[in-house]
Subunit: 194 residues, 2 copies
DNA sequence: TCGAATATTGTCAACTTTGACAATCTATAG
DNA sequence: CTATAGATTGTCAAAGTTGACAATATTCGA
């Protein structure tokens, strides 16, 4: 007899709105009222479905980490092992859609906010460790001649290039750098053959 | 007959305090009162020596960009041309002092805040362009066999590795990655010889 | 000593943000 | 139709933040 729950959808919409607000006004610069406006709801809706300010930030962090983890595991599920590396590189250097870029920037925001959100700090470290480890394992599989140490080195470097490049592109730097970044990354991988 | 001006010193102290607050509370999460407390002054002092909130942020941005520019030009002045590359690499992968790290993180904060501070955005792009161009020129000089395009590619990639690595180290990721990053960067430079 | 420029402190009203709670509305199963 | 769980809206007081300005204190040179 109860009315059907809107909780899931409302929470998603609110977190989406929150992310857009963070880009516009900053993490601490965003008021609950602004989030509500952005989502075309009232502030009390936030209170009802999520809670107070801390709850909102926690929910955002959890969703963000979860999305990244899913992106890492689910998308890879159907890829044959020998194509994993090229698939990963494609993923790292594709021109991202607006939503993915926004997520990446929110990640950057959270990184610089590690003092205030030690929970986010821990989860971000875990996430990036997992990304690097996963990529390094792919490299080991694809380049049996290379040492494990070499694969980890290259994996870390390529992730650094990819992440910083994405931030630079978002900032508005010369787009020709994008091809440079990818080219160097692929050269680094090729160097594992010898 | 006037009293001697404290303006220069006060402004520096206030901006230092502002930077520390940004790390603790975030760019928009920092109140003028907190900055004043951190600097052990009163809020009216900020008003007197710098102005309102916007003035404070502008002053911070200007000083940050200026400091980076000076670090780039002045330090290089006494370096003989053939040592510029190794000096630059040392600089990029040295374990930074706390103050330099803080500046780098504030830069990250400003990057993610580009929508609110288009002025900062423009200056950051210029700054990074200058850094990459300068490094690429050093590479061209040191590696005459390499093409210009190769030098720019490598310069951009090494800057990406260095910047992202610094952020990762600050975040608290495994310190052993630091050596990996530097090693890959130096291998990339060495590849310009062939 | 005195005057002038500057430092420093204090106070005020307007505005914003937040948390809490009350009250009303509405869809759905029985 | 009706009861009920949940959706949605509204209102308040408390606390925090800011901009503006008044007022006082201090130093330096003449």
């Amino acid at each position: 007899m109860p009315r059907k729950s809107m909780a899931k959808q409302r929470r998603e919409e609110l977190l989406d709105a929150f992310e857009r607000c963070i880009i516009k006004y900053g993490l601490e610069g965003t008021s609950l009222e602004q989030v509500a406006d952005e989502a075309q709801m009232t502030r009390s809706i936030i209170r009802h479905y999520i809670g107070n300010r801390d709850d909102l930030v926690s929910a955002l962090i959890d969703r963000l980490i979860r999305q990244y983890a899913e992106q890492l595991t689910e998308n890879y599920a159907d890829i044959p092992p020998e194509q994993m590396v090229s698939y990963a590189v494609d993923n790292m250097f594709s021109q991202k859609d607006a939503l993915s870029v926004r997520e990446k920037i929110i990640i950057d925001v959270l990184m610089t906010a590690k003092e205030r959100y030690p929970d986010a700090k821990k989860k971000l470290i875990q996430m990036y460790d997992a990304v690097i480890q996963s990529f390094a394992s792919d490299l080991e599989r694809q380049y049996p001649n290379a040492t494990q140490a070499q694969c980890w080195q290259i994996a870390y470097a390529v992730v650094c290039i990819s992440e910083m490049n994405e931030t630079f592109m978002w900032l508005g730097m010369n787009p020709r750098y994008h091809a440079d970044a990818r080219q160097v990354a692929e050269n680094l991988l090729a160097s594992l053959n010898s």
